[in-house]
Symmetry: C2
Subunit: 177 residues, 2 copies
DNA sequence: ATAGATTTTGGACAATCGTCAAGATATTAT
DNA sequence: ATAATATCTTGACGATTGTCCAAAATCTAT
């Protein structure tokens, strides 16, 4: 996954993966039937690490301010420290537009991420005695779109990318939940 | 571009592009310095075709209903008829997360698309004597996210993908503009 | 300790990749 | 028509790809 996150799907070969691991290239075919199988396993592995990222903040927060602060902080931290791994997610999601074998796993992760965003927004709303005013799908689309854009700007060296994302989220979240 | 749209960046070789064209593989290096250069030119070429898609509808519409109807229709048509070309866009945008050479062009197209969405929403708002209530960036993130999701579902064979997108947009646009 | 199962190695394979260059062909200018 | 330029073809190259396999190494159970 580190190699994939560094090079991207298109430029990653099994030999490169093996070389940056503690194994040789031959052993990969002992555990994975082929390249697609290996990538699929990576996608599945990614999911588990990702979809509970904000859960602790969500359940611990006792006020809208506290939740907002924790969410913004975690969001910033993610872009700052895990940009490479997240660009891999967007890469693989795009690959699923072409490679049928990836679609089910990608769709499942997408759903899990949508649920995660929904949990945050629902909690934020309920802490104000309200309910979210947009659908799950729209909410996810919005935050995913903002995150993706921030990621691209950040990786391009734009120092204001994270600050702008924070500002945007701080303005938007109270209007939708 | 047709070959790229069919196979995706990762699986497309110069020889494959040549084979599906009227030329041989050698001639590509007469016009393009290397593979990255060729893809960059494709990205730039894509832009011109894309960013004025809704302009006629936007300027012709005389009421919110008319604009909504035209926008929904064009949106559906795009997903239905040009899904393959649009998955190429998402593919190349993801590639720009890894390949620095793509970033400037991708960022420029992204900006143009944002402007395009903004023009639609602004017009929709002004036809109701209003102004959009969210930022350009948020608006684009929202619609781009919804479109991307719809595209994935549509390509996976989900017959309800387009209808769901229409429904979502019909509900959202009046609340943001 | 020994036999059997499991895991790992490293090389071989055919196929494909991007790139290049020499020469053939077509176009244009005089 | 002829020369000069532009365009295209073809074959070659070294490198890399995914896959496979026989043999070596390691582990496990008795």
């Amino acid at each position: 996954m580190e190699t994939l996150a560094e090079l991207g799907y298109a430029r990653t070969s099994l030999r490169e993966i093996a070389q940056k691991s503690e194994f040789t290239h031959g052993v990969l075919h002992y555990y994975f039937s082929d390249k697609v199988d290996l990538i699929c396993c990576c996608v599945r592995h990614y999911k588990a690490k990702c979809v509970t990222r904000y859960d602790q903040i969500t359940s611990a927060a006792q006020s809208r301010d506290e939740l907002m602060k924790g969410f913004l902080e975690k969001l910033s931290e993610t872009v700052r420290d895990e940009a490479r791994m997240h660009r891999l997610w967007y890469d693989l999601r795009s690959q699923s537009l072409f490679e049928e074998a990836f679609r089910d796993d990608v769709a499942e992760i997408d759903k899990s991420l949508e649920d995660m965003v929904w949990r945050v927004a629902s909690r934020f709303a309920s802490l104000g005695g309200r309910q979210p005013v947009v659908s799950r799908g729209a909410l996810y689309a919005l935050f995913d779109g903002l995150f993706q854009r921030c990621l691209l700007r950040h990786l391009s060296g734009d120092r204001k990318a994270i600050a702008d994302l924070r500002e945007e989220v701080e303005r938007l979240l109270p209007t939708v939940a």
